[in-house]
Amino acid sequence: MLIKQISIFLPNQKGHLARVTGALLKNKIDIRAMVAFDTADFGILRAIVTEPDRALEVLKNDGFVAKISKVVVVEPEDRTGSLHEIFALLAEKGMNIDYTYSFVMRKGEMPYFVLKVDELEQALEALTQNGIKVINKNEINE
């Protein structure tokens, strides 16, 4: 199953991240994964949240530029080489990973990995067929 990810325009301003998290908190939306890299003047914050559609509405109403796109979320096995297997598999199938980031570490369990691939449906199929655990929406909200 493909998961909805939310992308938010991030101008380089003090307190901007807190404005985003504040807006989500106010509306009781939980953040499951989040990533933003250091860029000179502006960047993109990506997040997996509970209720992404409502999150988009909330953020847009608060004046943020935001959009929903889809990603694959997988759970690698907890052993050396398991991540390599996932990336190698997609490379072998000729799929390009635009970016990847991981969920917050859970108690004694492996974090989920978010993969943004151009060919999402094919990636989903390839991963499932090769025994890699793909996460569905309900698991994210657990």
Binding site: D41, V65, A66
Partner: protein, 437 residues
């Protein structure tokens, strides 16, 4: 387009007729100021001239210029040509520093002003069937009252809303069936944003047909944007309180420049650096002489506005001279690394770029010995959030266009929608942080 209405037969005279009217009225004006305004009689004398020296319109160029500073020096009534008892109306411009510029009108001046506004609003498409909402601030500023009188004169139903209270503006538009909007162009764009937030689509849910914009300059791209969001036909008009207020010139529906009422004003274009009069079609600073004003006749006023004059008969049938869209202010001109740039040119590039909103802020500063320019624009298109490359290439493409069109290298920064300042009156979009020259 339908046959255009022309308010007055004075808008379709021959060039010879204008010439004769202007010469007679110029002579009268010079005679009168030499008699009734000590400041002008001194100025004319110091220039080695006498009232009778005006034999032809070309002799006008020998008269010294009047500048804004002359109003300040003569504050409040030193330039008035009539006793205060004959004044029926005062207005004043917003003095950003110190005293405002005070202007006054006699009964005849008020009639002239009203007539010139009637010409202007007719050119813009307004008739006695229209409901006109004035969203200029009422008060000492000439804009609101000027348009008000002329709109009533053509029989339009006037709503004197004044500026601000934007949600109420939208409500009144809906409830009164407003068909004509009178405001600054930037306030019109702001009002459209507010309407959208209220769930009102200006183009489909309102009845606007005409937009009469003035009080600040705008670009062709801004006009297109206003036409699109409001679903109306926008024209621009021009004036300044020193000369009368709005009504000096305005666009007709042919959109070939702003018609100047030549039976009341004589326009010239000069080189702002040398003061030399330039030829028809050449770009320079607009200089205007009033030839019918009683209370405050003004000789050769330097408007600081950069434009050009065009004398061929317009498609609308009017024969009055047209001034091109204002390209900038002679004192707003930015010199960036030796390149002359008007903020309006930067605006033109920005407004025609996809993915960003029409508002912007320009910052200029020194880095070492070099001029650096930064342009902040509001991101509106969420689609570019798919990848950082898309976001980055949006700023690169704007930067490249600024370089290609203007020859300047500006750093383009994206900011959030509605985070830049909005202006209800004149927009101040350039912050020059370089040292005073």
């Amino acid at each position: 387009m339908n046959q255009q209405r022309i308010w007055s037969t004075s808008e379709t005279l021959s060039r010879d007729e204008y010439h004769a009217i202007q010469l007679k009225r110029l002579k009268d004006t010079v005679d009168r100021v030499c008699r009734d305004v000590p400041y002008y009689s001194e100025m004319i004398k110091n220039a080695g001239m006498q009232p009778g020296d005006i034999k032809d319109l070309d002799d006008l160029s020998a008269i010294p210029f009047t500048v804004k500073e002359d109003f300040r020096v003569n504050y409040p009534f030193g330039l008035f040509a009539v006793p205060k008892q004959q004044i029926v109306r005062f207005h004043a411009s917003s003095g950003t520093t110190g005293k405002p510029t005070v202007v006054g009108y006699t009964k005849n001046d008020m009639a002239t002003w009203t007539e010139l506004i009637a010409r202007l609003v007719t050119m813009a498409g307004v008739t006695d069937e229209d409901v006109a909402q004035i969203a200029f601030g009422y008060g000492l500023f000439t804009g609101a009252f000027g348009l008000h009188q002329g709109l009533e004169h053509v029989g339009a139903s006037v709503i004197p809303m004044s500026s601000g209270n934007t949600q109420k503006q939208i409500m009144i538009m809906q409830d009164f069936g407003t068909t004509a909007l009178i405001s600054t162009p930037s306030y019109a764009l702001h009002m459209a944003e507010v309407a959208m937030e209220m769930g009102v689509d200006p183009a489909n849910d309102l009845n606007l047909k005409w937009g009469l914009f003035g009080g600040e300059g705008s670009t062709e791209a801004m006009r297109q944007e206003i036409n699109r969001v409001w679903g109306l036909f926008a024209t621009e008009n021009y004036g300044m309180s020193e000369l009368m207020g709005p009504g000096v010139s305005g666009e007709c529906q042919a959109l070939k420049g702003m018609h100047i009422s030549e039976d009341h004003f004589i326009p010239e274009i000069i080189d702002p650096a040398t003061g030399q009069v330039l030829n028809e079609g050449e770009v320079g600073e607009l200089v205007i002489t009033t030839i019918t004003k009683e209370a405050l006749p003004i000789l050769r006023y330097r408007t600081k506005d950069i434009t050009s004059l065009h004398y061929e008969t317009c498609d609308c049938g009017r024969t009055t001279v047209r001034m091109a869209k204002i390209q900038g202010r002679s004192d707003d001109m930015l010199i960036l690394g030796g390149v002359n740039v008007f903020p309006s040119q930067i605006e033109e590039v920005l407004v025609s770029s996809d993915g960003i909103g029409p508002h912007y802020q320009i910052k200029v500063f020194k880095q070492g010995y070099l001029d650096r320019i930064e342009v902040d624009v509001e991101l509106v298109d969420a689609e570019v959030l798919d990848s950082f490359q898309l976001l980055d290439s949006l700023t690169q493409s704007i930067r490249n266009r600024l370089r290609a069109v203007l020859g300047i290298d500006a750093k383009v920064t994206l900011v959030e929608p509605r985070s830049l300042a909005r202006f209800e009156g004149k927009a101040k979009r350039v912050i020059d942080m370089r040292e005073e020259k």
